[in-house]
């Protein structure tokens, strides 16, 4: 039985505080494992995990694969393109075929929102959302929160600014839900054309002026800006985006003294963030990647429902 209130991790909207706390707490334990010489525990021995990636991904897929291997799970990864799937086998058939091989957990990334939910309707496996369209990317938000938690020892009362393409960002959506559940105050900032309709209903402060957004914030989480948005008319040029929303040293003076710079990667250096800030002393961008290991191990372990005895020892 899952140690969380759900058998699946589909998103952070509606995920209760106690689940997030359990994941962060368990991540702490796995963090220790990652500091050992032999970074492997037998926790998920006998469990088979399938990574089903319908969208190109390097770091999330590798992060999950490593987390699974370090838990001693048997893993297999599929990379499929949605365009070939459209002509060939349906999503349901693919999953049912894989499930017929007696697997236990599925990590899925897909270009379409709602796919992880869709899979739960006909699968007995635990489903973990590794990013669905512009909807949610819960493990990314959890590792972001864990990184903040590790530095400040809390999330309650912190001011977190999320900057970038709010409309298309699943990372922002998951961060909003998770951070709000944990008592942080969330601000969003981006071009008006990349703020989705009625965005204020998320219950965040919304800005189109970067300096105002940064004023008094503890944490700045900068999102990658994708050039294809420029071609669909949502902003005029990369140059203007950088001028209005790019994070550089000069902008940092508005932040609290003990500020933190984050980015989920991959970074467009010199576009949404300058190199000196990304590589600066307040940046935790690489810590995020390390913490991603611990958080994904925690999620896999908690959902698998394996016994504590076999746990981390």
């Amino acid at each position: 039985m899952s140690r969380l209130s759900s058998r699946h991790l589909l998103g952070l909207e509606g995920t209760p505080r106690k689940d997030i706390e359990a994941i962060l707490k368990t991540a702490d334990t796995f963090s220790e494992v990652l500091d050992r010489t032999i970074k492997k525990v037998p926790t998920l021995r006998g469990i088979t995990v399938v990574n089903l990636f319908y969208e190109p991904s390097t770091r999330t897929r590798i992060s999950f694969e490593l987390a699974e291997k370090r838990l001693s799970a048997d893993t297999v990864s599929f990379s499929l393109s949605t365009s070939s799937v459209k002509k060939g086998e349906s999503l349901r058939d693919t999953l049912q075929n894989i499930e017929a091989m007696k697997i236990d957990m599925v990590v899925v990334r897909h270009t379409s929102a709602g796919v992880p939910y869709f899979l739960t309707r006909f699968s007995d496996a635990n489903i973990i959302n590794a990013g669905d369209g512009s909807h949610e990317h819960p493990t990314q938000a959890l590792l972001d929160m864990y990184t903040i938690y590790k530095k400040y020892g809390k999330l309650d009362g912190l001011r977190v600014v999320l900057i970038g393409d709010v409309m298309h960002s699943r990372v922002i959506r998951s961060n909003i839900w998770g951070l709000k559940t944990m008592g942080a105050s969330v601000a969003l900032c981006g071009p008006a054309t990349l703020l989705p309709y009625q965005v204020e209903q998320f219950g965040c402060d919304v800005y189109t002026n970067l300096d105002e957004a940064l004023d008094g914030a503890d944490v700045v989480n900068v999102m990658r800006i994708q050039l294809e948005r420029q071609h669909s008319g949502l902003f005029p040029s990369q140059r203007e985006y950088t001028k209005l929303f790019g994070i550089n040293k000069d902008r940092l003076k508005h932040l609290k003294k003990n500020y933190t710079i984050m980015h989920p990667g991959p970074i467009n250096r010199g576009v949404e963030i300058t190199s000196d800030v990304a590589d600066g002393s307040q940046s935790v961008i690489l810590n995020q990647v390390t913490n991603g290991q611990a958080v994904r191990m925690a999620v896999l372990y908690l959902l698998s429902g394996k016994d504590e005895e076999e746990g981390v020892s």
Binding site: S112, A113, G114, S134, Q198
Partner: protein
């Protein structure tokens, strides 16, 4: 011709004919596919009824007897996607839903943009359980570029033109279509959604689409489209029919245009009168994906208000069959549309009559005589001498919508599992029972 005085008599039903403003218990007498007379009860009539054979009589006690229902917005998938619906199966579904006349949209494969395809559909509709009236395309291949041979289409029997599924984006083409159609006194039926504003849209643009991360089709896409076409209709003095209207501002625009005497009519679908985009929620039920999309509560309420005050003339289902395979997939990969013929009446009774928005007389008007008048169709009344197309309704019968009970070849309905009040008891086409429970 038979020797009997009547072929069929429907006795003791509550007869509602909104064309005549009639709503009383009465008996309906039928001969040779026509209505002979509708008589309220009296001693001589009772005497006459006693002389008839029992197999000539349908007892409609506690039932409603109304003109056969008319649905002017139906997709039959023939030719092209006979796995989803044929003319025959669509007509069977129509009869089961109480419809004796349906109008089919031209977005088949190939499209109904020439005489040959009109004729093909008409041939398929011989001896079916409903009358089929063909709506031809406005433009060749529904591409929005050149007018189809509208004169030819009308000559072959097309009752209107529409590029349904696609808005005629080019204002010049739409202007010319309205002008050209005037020569034949047919309306131009428009799917009013600006294509650029709703490009890539998966659902209504609202907080729901923002929350779910699905690209939205904004309400303003409909408003802009409706306002433009009303302006063109005013200019050309043509006839414009707005298909499946869904937003408050579009309803306001039609209301205002009607006040000014612009020749515009409008229809609303049961699903836009009942559901909102909140239903899509986290289940991503692909049967809720439809164009125009399900809107917010305020829009839904405005469509009801428009229906109540007469701004919206009729109810049409936009019956759009899709195969289970096509709908059993990612939300954004599913084709838009839901079936409606077999649930339309039950939904209208359960959600509009029982909630006090409309009377039975209103509903019958909007499902019979009004659509008949928009498209100059026969029927819509039980007046003496008119077609004996009649629907007998069991108004308080409770039933649950079930996926395996549809007579349509498809079952893509979001209402599966919904309990409804009101079911069709018998459907009579041309004086003959074509559906009964």
């Amino acid at each position: 011709m038979t020797s009997k005085k009547y072929d069929l008599v429907i006795k003791n039903g509550r007869v509602i004919d909104s064309a005549l403003g009639f709503g009383r218990n009465a008996h309906v007498f039928i001969k040779d596919g026509r209505i002979v007379k509708v008589e309220v009860d009296s001693a001589p009539i009772r005497q006459e009824l006693r002389t008839l054979d029992s197999d000539q009589i349908i007892d409609a006690t506690d039932k409603l007897v109304v003109p056969g229902l008319i649905d002017i917005h139906v997709h039959l998938r023939e030719p092209g996607r006979e796995d989803e619906e044929t003319v025959e199966s669509g007509c069977r579904a129509a009869a089961a839903g109480g419809f004796t006349s349906i109008c089919c949209m031209p977005n088949t494969t190939p499209q109904i943009d020439n005489q040959g395809t009109v004729k093909f559909v008409q041939d398929r509709a011989q001896n079916t359980d409903a009358r089929v009236f063909v709506v031809g395309a406005i433009t060749k291949g529904q591409k929005g570029k050149e007018l189809a041979e509208i004169g030819d289409l009308v000559k072959m029997g097309a009752v209107a033109i529409s590029d349904d599924g696609f808005y005629v984006q080019n204002a010049e083409i739409m202007r010319r279509a309205l002008e050209y159609a005037r020569m034949f006194d047919i309306p131009v039926m428009q799917h009013s959604e600006d294509r650029q504003l709703c490009e890539g849209g998966m659902m209504n643009e609202s907080y729901e689409s923002t929350r779910l991360g699905l690209r939205g089709s904004p309400a303003v896409a409909e408003e802009v489209a409706v306002l433009r076409d009303i302006a063109l209709c005013r200019l050309t003095e043509g006839r414009l029919h707005i298909q499946h209207i869904t937003t408050r501002r579009a309803v306001d625009a039609v209301r205002q245009a009607k006040k000014e005497g612009v020749n515009v009519t409008a229809e609303a679908t049961p699903h836009h009168l009942i559901l909102t985009d909140k239903e899509i929620s986290k289940e991503f039920n692909t049967n809720l994906r439809v164009n125009p999309p399900l809107r917010i509560e305020d829009d839904r309420d405005a469509v009801i208000e428009g229906l109540v005050d007469g701004t919206i003339d009729c109810i049409a289902s936009d019956h759009a069959p899709h195969s289970a395979e096509e709908k059993d997939c990612e939300f954004d990969q599913a084709p838009p549309g839901m079936i409606g013929l077999e649930t339309s009446l039950g939904l209208v009774k359960t959600f509009l009559i029982d909630k006090g928005y409309l009377s039975w007389a209103d509903v019958i008007r909007k499902m019979t005589i009004n659509p008949a008048r928009i498209l100059n169709l026969p029927g819509g009344t039980l007046e003496e001498g008119s077609l004996a197309d009649i629907t007998i309704i069991d108004p308080e019968k409770k039933w649950t919508v079930k996926a395996d009970k549809f007579l349509s070849r498809s079952n893509n309905s979001p209402f599966i599992g919904q309990q409804l009040t009101c079911q069709v008891y018998k459907t009579i086409l041309n004086g003959k029972v074509v559906f009964e429970r």
